[in-house]
């Protein structure tokens, strides 16, 4: 089966080609099911390969398959090759599995939309690129997928391209991503210069020898790679595109900006764990940036009224958790959280989409309330997602977040404190959104209330599947005895080299936390989560006026956070405005003034010269006779005087 790994990205590519090129006359159902079946087929192949890998002994679970030699020039050999190891199989299954569910949901959600076929074509193209990204066996092929998902993100965010805010958001996403990609590319080039190859296994095997621990090359490479990750995964400072990306259709937000594309940065950092382990400065940077982002984004989630914005800031915050996990050396915890986050965040977005669908497109939570009577399935699945993200036992988020907080605590108390405060805020703003939307007094306006209806099964069944995964998905990470969980064990071979490097440098084996400490921290996490729940309930159900009072009391602070710390405006002032002014200058002065001037000027000179010469053609024969005489005189004069 591993020989057929190339089918995994190729199925969605075929779906894209069929829907894109031939789908003009197909009915909606056909287009939708072709798209979903393509991704579903990828999932089946990935699952089969996963089972095959399971059957192998743990040490040898790394299979490469080269399908084609893309570039061959001297030292440079870039194949189209796939790497099947525990990490990439997890990613492939998450991407194709959650992707398939979202495709099916989209058939219902996008019903009646004008660009239905375009949507599914782009969505399939996106899954193709994402699968290339996670299955590539070398940096350059990964970058192909990396750029591809950026492109599809732009296309899908700008899906409603006639709306200016949507097309602006698409451009913003692409440009901010590009800044990150620049860093990634320089890092990849440095890798080639140092190692002579782009291939993962070769680079990581040679890394401990070629790169000195804590040395400049290692630090530089990993920092540059991390810059790419901040762009793609919306961390400080390149996160500003993600809230705006909510202009796209909700399933797009679910797939791209929650479950898959934004996790590409985390995957990349995890994949390069060996390189990061050799550069402790970078690792700490990753942890600090991740923690800071988790905290910072959570503060903004508290004040937003747009339900999708809340989820967007939540995504940025959770991604911060994943990076913090990688930064403290707990790579498998980061990936575990990636997987559970994919489940519950996709669920939350799609349930929010279901709410919007019922509310005829309204997404301001101030205009919702008491919707649980009208939308039972949506309500319960959204609550499941919220319980998961808040980290309440036994939902998935509890296990993954708890693991991260445990490792953070071991690394440095500061990380745990930031993580814990962010957890409180996460629980609070998520339950705030639950209570504002589904409980309390109905603030729905009359017209919309007429059309309130639960979504059709094609939308609610995917929600229920994901809700089930949000419930049980964490069980693969249950700590059995000390520090031992199925998921971590599965990913161990991938991260073992990095772990060995870190432990060698630290001079001792990592401290294994005592069972007591684990249970203590678990208990604290639960208390934090419930505190957030009850605070939200008090503020939004029992005494709704408290919310506005607090906002008034904390006037200036509230204003600062509500306006997203004016980061967009600051970036505009610092970077965007000057670049736009410079572009305008180049346009008016150089392109129009100079280049066009040169071209037009040449034409003008020729025309003027011509209009002078033209006077010779007077049409009078006597003038021509004169010129003959002049010519004769000149010639004879020359001959005589010579």
């Amino acid at each position: 089966m591993t020989d057929l790994v190339w089918l995994i990205p190729v199925f969605p590519l075929i779906g894209f080609l069929i829907n894109g090129l031939l789908g003009k006359r197909f009915p909606e159902r056909t287009i939708g099911w072709i798209g979903s079946a393509a991704v579903g087929a990828s999932f089946v192949v990935a699952l089969l390969i996963f089972l095959e890998l399971l059957g192998m002994p743990p040490g040898s679970r790394s299979v490469q398959k080269v399908v084609y030699t893309w570039m061959l020039s001297g030292d440079l050999n870039i194949p189209i090759g796939f790497l099947m190891d525990p990490l990439s199989m997890v990613m492939m299954m998450v991407v194709s599995g959650v992707g398939c569910i979202i495709h099916v949901y989209s058939i219902g959600y996008m019903h009646g939309e004008f660009g239905f076929r375009r949507y599914f074509a782009y969505l399939n193209l996106f899954v193709f690129n994402m699968l290339i990204l996670v299955s590539a066996n070398n940096f350059l092929l990964l970058f192909v997928g990396w750029e591809g998902v950026g492109l599809c993100s732009y296309l899908l965010i700008g899906y409603y391209y006639e709306k200016k805010s949507a097309s602006d958001a698409g451009k913003k996403a692409f440009v901010v991503n590009r800044v990150g990609d620049f860093g990634f590319l320089i890092g990849a080039f440095l890798i080639f210069v140092t190692f002579g190859t782009f291939n993962f296994t070769d680079v990581f095997a040679a890394a401990p020898d070629k790169l000195s621990y804590g040395g400049l090359p290692a630090t530089l490479i990993t920092l540059l790679l991390f810059v790419g990750a901040t762009g793609k995964s919306a961390q400080i400072p390149l996160y500003t595109w993600l809230p705006d990306a909510m202009e796209g259709p909700t399933p797009v937000s679910a797939l791209i900006h929650a479950a898959t594309m934004v996790t590409a940065g985390v995957y990349m950092v995890a994949r390069c764990s060996v390189l990061f382990a050799l550069a402790p400065v970078s690792l700490t940077t990753v942890a600090i940036v991740g923690g800071a982002t988790a905290f910072y984004a959570a503060t903004m989630g508290i004040t937003q009224f747009d339900i999708k914005r809340v989820l967007a800031y939540s995504t940025i915050s959770q991604l911060g958790y994943m990076f913090m996990a990688c930064g403290v050396g707990a790579f498998s915890s980061g990936i575990f959280h990636l997987m559970t986050h994919a489940f519950f965040k996709a669920l939350l977005f799609m349930a929010a989409g279901s709410v919007m669908h019922a509310m005829s497109g309204e997404l301001d939570m101030r205009k919702m309330g008491a919707l649980r009577k009208h939308l039972p399935y949506t309500h319960w699945t959204y609550v499941f997602g919220t319980l998961a993200i808040a980290g309440i036992f036994p939902f998935a988020g509890f296990f993954s977040k708890d693991e991260i907080l445990l490792y953070a605590f071991q690394r440095h108390l500061g990380f745990w404190i930031i993580g814990a405060i962010a957890a409180v805020m996460t629980s609070f703003y998520m339950f705030r959104s639950v209570f504002m939307t589904f409980y309390g007094e109905s603030r729905v306006d009359h017209e919309t209330a007429h059309h309130l209806h639960e979504s059709p099964p094609i939308m609610t069944v995917p929600l229920m599947i994901l809700a089930g995964l949000a419930l049980v998905g964490g069980l693969v990470g249950i700590p059995i005895l000390e520090h031992y969980n199925v998921f971590g064990h599965w990913l161990d071979p991938v991260f073992a080299p990095a772990k060995a490097i870190s432990e060698k440098a630290a001079g001792h084996h990592g401290d294994h936390a005592s069972v007591a400490l684990e249970f203590l921290l678990m208990g604290v996490s639960l208390c934090i989560a419930f505190f957030g729940l009850f605070l939200a309930r008090w503020m939004y159900v029992t005494k709704p006026s408290v919310a506005t009072e607090v906002a008034e009391r904390l006037g200036p602070i509230h204003k600062l956070v509500y306006n997203k710390y004016w980061m967009d405006e600051i970036y505009d002032f610092l970077f965007v405005d000057s670049i736009v002014k410079f572009s305008r200058l180049l346009w008016k002065w150089f392109d129009e003034g100079f280049i066009d001037g040169m071209v037009n000027g040449t034409a003008t000179v020729v025309r003027r010269f011509g209009s002078i010469l033209r006077e010779l053609e007077s049409g009078l024969v006597k003038d021509y006779a004169l010129s003959i005489v002049v010519g004769v005189v000149v010639v004879i004069g020359y001959l005589v005087l010579r």
């Binding site: 053609e617 049409g619 009078l620 006597k622 006779a625 005489v629």
Partner: protein, 100 residues
């Protein structure tokens, strides 16, 4: 005594007058007459040289020139008639539409 130089000066003067007439006169017929004048001046030059060098070739060439002059006048007058029929005038300053 009349030397060669006298004849040559006369020819040159006649030729110059002819050229001036072709360049500066407005009437097409006058221009044709000036053209004839130029040719006759050349004839005079040839005959003077023929007498001076004692060779008969000069005078033979004069006969050829006269033939050509006659043919040319025929054609030239035909053109003048055609122009007059077209334009109603033989003023060459008016025949100027082949211009920019």
């Amino acid at each position: 005594m009349l030397t060669l130089q006298h004849y040559l000066f006369l020819s040159a003067a006649l030729f110059a007058l002819g050229v001036v007439g072709v360049m500066f006169r407005r009437n097409l017929i006058i221009i044709l007459m000036s053209l004839e004048l130029m040719m006759n001046a050349v004839n005079l030059t040839f005959v003077a040289f023929s007498r001076y060098l004692g060779s008969i070739e000069g005078q033979i060439f004069v006969l050829f020139i006269m033939v050509v002059a006659a043919a040319e006048v025929a054609v030239g007058l035909a053109i003048a008639v055609a122009v007059f029929r077209q334009k109603g005038t033989v003023n060459v300053n008016e025949v100027n539409i082949m211009k920019w």
